[in-house]
Symmetry: C2
Subunit: 428 residues, 2 copies
């Protein structure tokens, strides 16, 4: 099956894009329309790669706006944990469908996730038509008995993970240690060995708060990334490592992340909203050769999955705290939000040129953010929001056209239904 | 003419809203539908006050995305100024229509503006159906000859301004000194007297950059707001004073702004993007009794007019730089973006209760930012963007319903046409 996108704006020039199967087969004004192709009229539209959301907790979309503006302890103890006990496969399934719908509607076709009930979550992503790496998140609270049961649980998941991964192209399963302060060194290492044996992404919250760093210095005598190196994990996992947040870093740690070619998933909105910090070392990481990707984090902390908004905040925040209006210009911001995210997930997309996977979107140039269209990349990053996206293609398949997504009304209705099963405790 | 909004969510409860003429006549589940009223079905919608955008340059929408990611000097000298010479009444008219369209589509019904060609700008606002205070911006570059011609020009505008203001309800004209570094003390005082004589808003850029403050200390021996007090302007203009930006303030200046009941227009996106600063003293100003309002600034610096985005960034930035996740909760953020902006402009709107002006909007609860709707204010501020707004009412008139605005396609087409007359110089 071929898709032929005719007369579309790309890099400020009108061109045609041809997709064969799941790949971009050619781009150029001379590329002709093949017989039998599905033709999309690109007039009044601009093509961009889709976004890759490099860190989140998709099913937590159901907690959107629940318990905002409380301190972390109250939020977890009184709002989230008592209700997370209600989680079941059906709630997860519709929560992930809701998240996928929101991502598609704002131009995202891949995400790296950490949560629970992997098979149900993966089914929801498969049926939504986009890509994800879904990692089951574990803690052992540095308790040897818990560590033993985590190990047993992971061993029980081994064949499920391997079977799924060998039979699915767009969705991959993995396991994720939550963070160094909730997972013992032995379990961190066990996970690294497991992920390396099966060639899986090792996704972990790293250096999100100053407290985490201070406690590591106290307990381990070194900073979080130094601990990960000491445990051999950075070397072992390398480019399969995604360190979510990575906000409070020393120059030495930045050097380590670069040395082992690890990935960092930056979540500017979440970091601001939870007051984790606002001075993310983008330039320093980039200059150390680190692949920095962008994430939204879960909807209970950020509170949407719109990568365009996240990209704007990321760029503006760099300019702001560095006092440099030339920091992170629009094209570089776009690359971080697209290509770098796919790279972190080991997916060859995020770049519109021949041979790459066909993950792309068309934005509506009559959306007011593109009026006038003096510079389409600038308009996308600095003026637009997700609603400018008209058409989304993932892996060569159209998942949204004219802003219509299959089963949209049903997904919204079911999400509204299951949230009543999920949230049974509402503090005054 | 009456409007009856039936079964709408307001403060998380279902109610009815009755509008008579240009005012809210009643709110309550017991309020019955009057005969002949225009009935709006509020089911699946939530009502909020509309936004008041307290600082901007509306016609600069036509420069959206033009010359981004350059330093200020290059941007002004090579990109903006050579093209601003092309400005004419037609360009201004369609530029302001475009800005009004964008504001209506994201729930804004009033804005305080600084630019040129007042009558054409005012005509565009009148025809768009919303409110504005449009101030002609002047500089004299501390040059006595220029000061003389500014004074002459202002005197020539006196009858135009007075005639317009006495015959128009929604739009008011005024004059604005650009800033203390571009306007001499004599002209600053002359403007204050003029504005006071005619009961006009005195809108000025204040303390936007550290350089401005440092230069004032050098040249005036005091900080910008201290200069304005010394000149008697704060006392004279009082609650008619809007100090746009007001970013770099001493505790003493914050005290002065509070003492004279002046207004501050905070523009978080512009301040970040231009790297003017990110630590706005919201709490300190509020606690000093200052009416702090929110603005987007012009599209050439921020680059959209979406007050929902601006409100989110304002709130998140406070939490971020103060390292306090409890700073600026959603309801307070909403008040700053709505009620406080109207107050700064001397308009009794921004509050949904009986007797206030009927400026309000209905948001679509099936917009994904409101799914699920655990807390509608939280969803509006932290999850939504302008596209959630379904219906906008200004001064008792419907200006958008079902996201349809009168003449929308025409405004977009004409804006796209006149931008070609405006932008004739495009640096490589």
């Amino acid at each position: 099956m071929s898709i032929y996108i005719k007369n579309v704006l790309l890099d400020e020039k009108t061109t045609n894009i041809l997709i064969h199967g799941n790949k971009i087969a050619g781009i150029g004004i001379d590329i002709e329309q093949p017989t039998g192709a599905n033709v999309i009229d690109g007039q009044g539209k601009a093509a961009f790669p889709t976004f890759a959301n490099s860190h989140g907790h998709a099913a937590m979309s159901l907690f959107r706006g629940f318990g905002d503006d409380h301190n972390l302890g109250d939020w977890l103890n009184q709002w989230i944990w008592p209700n997370e006990r209600n989680l079941d496969p059906e709630i997860i399934y519709w929560g992930v469908r809701l998240a996928c719908l929101e991502m598609i509607k704002s131009g995202t076709t891949a995400f790296a996730d950490m949560y629970f009930f992997l098979p149900d979550a993966a089914k929801a992503v498969e049926e939504s038509g986009i890509r994800a790496i879904l990692s089951h998140s574990f803690v052992d609270l540095h308790n040897p008995d818990m560590a033993k049961s985590v190990r047993k649980e992971v061993e029980g998941m081994e064949s499920i993970i391997c079977d799924w991964n060998s039979s699915h192209e767009r969705t991959k399963l993995s396991i994720a240690p939550h963070a160094i302060y909730t997972v013992s060194n032995e379990t961190l290492k066990f996970f690294a060995e497991f992920c390396t044996r099966h060639n899986l992404i090792y996704h972990i919250h790293m250096s999100e708060t100053l407290t985490e760093v201070e406690n590591s210095l106290k307990e381990n005598g070194c900073r979080p990334y130094e601990l990960m190196e000491r445990l051999g994990i950075l070397e072992q996992t390398g480019s399969r490592f995604i360190g979510a947040h990575s906000l409070h870093l020393s120059p030495e740690e930045i050097g380590l992340i670069g040395k082992y070619h690890c990935n960092v998933a930056h979540n500017p909105n979440s970091n601001l909203k939870l007051a984790s910090g606002h001075q993310f070392f983008y330039n320093e990481l980039r200059d150390a050769g680190v692949n920095v990707a962008l994430g939204t984090d879960g909807c209970s902390s950020s509170n949407n999955l719109d990568m365009i908004e996240a990209a704007k905040v990321m760029s503006l925040l760099q300019k702001g705290w560095r006092q440099d209006p030339l920091s992170m210009p629009a094209p570089e911001t776009l690359k971080v939000a697209t290509r770098n995210g796919f790279t972190a997930m080991g997916i060859d997309a995020g770049e519109l040129s021949e041979g790459h996977l066909a993950d792309l979107m068309l934005v509506d140039l009559n959306n007011i953010a593109f009026v006038p269209n003096n510079n389409s990349t600038s308009n996308l990053i600095y003026a637009a929001h997700g609603d400018c996206v008209d058409t989304v293609i993932c892996n060569g398949n159209i998942v949204m056209q004219g802003r219509k997504v299959a089963e949209e009304e049903n997904v919204i209705r079911e999400a509204q239904r299951v949230v009543k099963k999920l949230i049974t405790v509402r503090p005054a």
